[in-house]
Amino acid sequence: MKKVRGMRVIEYLLTVLVIVTLNFALPRAMPGDPFLIMSETEEDVVVLTEEQREYYFELYGLDKPITEQYVSYLGDLLRGDLGLSIYYNEDVSTIILRRLPWTLFLVISTVILRTIIGSLLGTISAWCRGNFFDQFLFFNLITISEIPAFITGLLILFVFSAMLGLFPLSGAMSHFTTYESLWEQIVDILHHAFLPIITLTLARLGGIYLLARNSVITVIQKDYLVTARAKGLSKGRILLRHILRNAMLPIVTRTFLSLGSLVGGAILVENVFNYPGLGLLMQEAVNVHDYTLIQGIFLVVALFVLVANLMADLIYKHLDPRIESQEQTTS
């Protein structure tokens, strides 16, 4: 048991190291350099001379050999220092921390919404498997989830914000307003976040729905359901303790594992809705070749996925008593 846990820790550490290394290498493999952009911007007539370029290279340590850069990068990371943004001239960690809550808000709301709605619809579908309602849900949800999120987003934005004017076109909060109460602020934030969250949820609903439907269908056919019926249990108890309790296992795993790709989806949707999260920041950073910022965002997203994985592991172990004994037998 201890040995297995030890192995797990080593696994996670190795993964972190690989992520960090890739993170270090990828931006440097991109064509061009940040100071080229700075020197080529047409509106700002900040043209850098050769001396200035060299100065900046030295300032950011880009003139040193690659191994030295790597080692100092690792050292900085250990201290929690993600470096200085080249473009914004501000601490990367400060910038990310400012933007991160918005993305987390989007992603977490979406996860909760779509897991609940998807599982519910999937269960209903499985319950009346084969009849019209099941077929209706099946066809529509699969179709919707096949449409890329940004197209759905554009469509929704166009209809609800541009045409009907029900929701704001962009942003996370109304600018230049002072809120009279906390409640007013919350309403404003929800008002802004509503469409992005709906877009993301719609795009991600199909997968969970299908999984829930299959999972419930599988569980319904199990022998222990015959046992439950034989015992004369109530329908509610059978559904909750026997069907859903078992059917939720794969759903939980999938939910946590999909957090990573959900962040990816959020980046696209944030761009469509001009929502000030990490996604929008990333787009800006890529445009200006802001290495340190890009690295910082990548790292945060990667660690986020890793944490999600770890949570899935821990929660699953708690939900499925069979896992623990398997580990016992392997150790």
Binding site: K222, D223, Y224, V226, T227, A228, R229, A230, K231, G232, L233, S234, K235, R237, R241, H242, R245, N246, L249, L319, D320, P321, R322, S325
Partner: protein, 570 residues
């Protein structure tokens, strides 16, 4: 229970049909069953005979199948009730111990919760009372209550069986249906579970419907038994009587396939496949199926008190019946009472061993049965017809005898061919060619050469063992249904003896061939006999099913005989 209801459970003409219109499968086919309070009934049959479907049908758990007929529980017809209405009966009145597997318990709930669940649903108990009851139940089935916080996969098969039992007993059911309680358990746990079931049934007094293909379990735990084949009941009776004297060939086949009943006997499964036609479903596998067997389904009829059989022939056919045979030899004014009123019964497909020491009258009995010797008193019937004037031995498919001493029973002046062909010549069967073909066939059966050279050889030129085999071949040439074999293998070498007996055994299982096997060799008897009659001083002192006589002899003489024969083994 209502006073005016005679039965706790009454199933009338129950059919469970699966599949679509053009591909119907009747898992249960017109089954009827009555059960009184506290009764124990066993249901036996091969896998797929519909036993488990019956259990599920009684509980109202059939999914996707059509149900016809009535299931009357305590005056209420359960067929067609909604899930909500069934709730009243499920578990509180009728509970089911499922066939043990990991799948029947919910893998993510503790066993405590799974035992508690029905109590929570059916009774209004406080948390503390529930906990107390769970502990009580686990103690009742002999499982440490500490296990209640564990999950099904933490438990061994035997422990899970106890959990299933505790779960089933939680609401004090009046009827407990138990599906295969001991399969996949090691012998020790199996024995424990059987003891436990026995004890609990006696203490709690619930009626028990026990489904199993393990006949040992059924024998120990039930007072009545029902044999199911293809969804139909083919035999019903008291367990003790059915096991001693099965009347349906299928029941007998099941008994013969059970190593725990006949410990030393050869195992013989039932060959063949199920009939799909309108006739008796068992007829292709039956050793006594006749023409009318394929015309219609036999119905379940009473053949004796508390005994029913579904067979066109009224159960396993009786080949030979001898009543009160008496024979006295008179020599020089001295009377020797050789046979003093012997009754004998041989059924189709049965090997009856007649054992006893020399001079006990065994051979005399054999000779009188086939009419070689007259008898003073008594009657003999072959297939229901009185035996007179040798008609039963003068036919194809009749009775034949093989004498003990081949040198005197086969004329040394005959050639092999003529010696074997003789019975056919007498009854003028077929032409010479056909008769010769038959002779060759029989020679092969007894492992003798069938060359022309051998056929033309004179019998006096053969060894004792060869002449014995010639005698057997001569008996087999008329394809007898019943063979009276008087020490026929004593002069054969072990290998030939084994081969011959296996051939006869195969004939017995396939064609219903029966044999009265007279011998001293109790080791052989233990291997081949279905029934044993022990003869001593002209009387049959003990008779019965071979496993009972050989395992547990009652008569002093039998005990002596057995201890002499098996001393070397003990």
């Amino acid at each position: 229970m209502n006073e005016d209801n005679q039965y706790l459970l009454e199933v009338n003409g129950l059919s469970v049909i699966y599949g679509s219109e053009d591909n119907k499968l009747k898992a249960v086919d017109g089954l009827s069953l009555q059960m009184k309070e506290g009764e124990t009934i066993g249901v036996i049959g091969e896998s797929g005979s519909g036993k488990s479907t019956l259990a599920l049908a009684i509980m109202g758990l059939i999914k996707g199948g059509e149900i016809k007929g009535e299931i009357v529980y305590d005056g209420h017809d359960l067929v067609g009730l909604s899930e909500k209405e069934l709730k009243e009966f499920r578990w509180q009145k009728v509970a089911l111990v499922f066939q043990n597997s990991l799948e029947v318990l919910n893998p993510v709930l503790t066993i405590g919760e799974q035992i508690r669940e029905p109590l929570q649903t059916h009774y209004d108990l406080s948390k503390k009372e529930l906990e107390g009851r769970v502990i009580e139940l686990l103690n009742l089935v002999g499982l440490n209550p500490e296990w209640r916080n564990h999950y099904p996969h933490n438990l061994s098969g035997g422990m899970r069986q106890r959990v299933l039992l505790a779960m089933a007993l939680s609401c004090d059911p009046e009827l407990l249906i138990i599906d295969e309680p001991t399969t996949a358990l090691d012998p020790a746990s199996k024995e424990e579970i059987l003891q436990l079931l026995n004890k609990l049934q006696k203490r709690l007094g619930f009626a028990m419907l026990m489904i199993s293909h393990d006949l040992g379990t059924i024998k120990e735990l039930t007072s009545q038994v029902m044999t199911m084949y293809c969804g139909q009941v083919v035999e019903v009776g008291l367990t003790e009587k059915v096991f001693k004297d099965p009347l349906h060939p299928y029941t007998r086949g099941l008994l013969n396939s059970s190593p725990n009943l006949f410990k030393y006997k050869d195992l013989w499964g039932i060959e063949g496949e199920v009939s799909q036609g309108k006739g008796c479903a068992f007829s292709p596998r039956c050793c006594q199926s006749g023409e009318n067997c394929n015309d219609s389904r036999p119905s379940l009829e009473y053949v004796a008190l508390e005994r029913m059989v579904a067979c066109h022939k009224g159960g396993i056919e009786k080949f030979l019946e001898a009543r009160d045979i008496k024979k006295t030899y008179r020599m020089k004014g001295k009377e020797v009472k050789a046979v003093k009123g012997v009754n004998l019964e041989i059924k189709s497909g049965e090997v009856v061993a007649l054992v006893g020491k020399s001079g006990s009258g065994k051979s005399t009995v054999a000779h009188t049965l086939v009419g070689v010797k007259d008898f003073d008193e008594g009657e003999i019937y072959y297939r229901g017809k009185k035996v007179e004037d040798n008609w039963a031995t003068k036919m194809i498919g009749g009775m034949q005898i093989v004498f003990q001493d081949p040198s005197s029973s086969i004329s040394s002046r005959l050639r092999v061919l003529d010696a074997i062909k003789e019975p056919l010549d007498i009854i003028k069967w077929g032409n010479q060619e056909a008769r010769k073909e038959k002779v060759v066939e029989c020679l092969q059966k007894v492992q003798l050469p069938a060359s022309k050279e051998f056929l033309d050889r004179y019998c006096h030129a053969l060894s004792g063992g060869q002449r014995q085999r010639i005698a057997i071949a001569r008996a087999l040439v008329t394809e007898p249904k019943l063979l009276i074999a008087d020490e026929i293998t004593s002069s054969l070498d072990p290998s030939t003896q084994a081969n011959l007996l296996r051939k006869l055994k195969a004939l017995q299982n396939r064609a219903g061939f029966a044999m009265l096997y007279i011998t001293h060799d109790l080791h052989l008897v233990r291997k081949i006999a279905d029934k044993v009659c022990v003869m001593h001083g002209g009387e049959i002192v003990e008779r019965g099913v071979s496993f009972e006589i050989l395992e547990n002899p009652k008569h002093g003489y039998t005990k002596k005989l057995l201890s002499n024969a098996f001393r070397s083994l003990i």
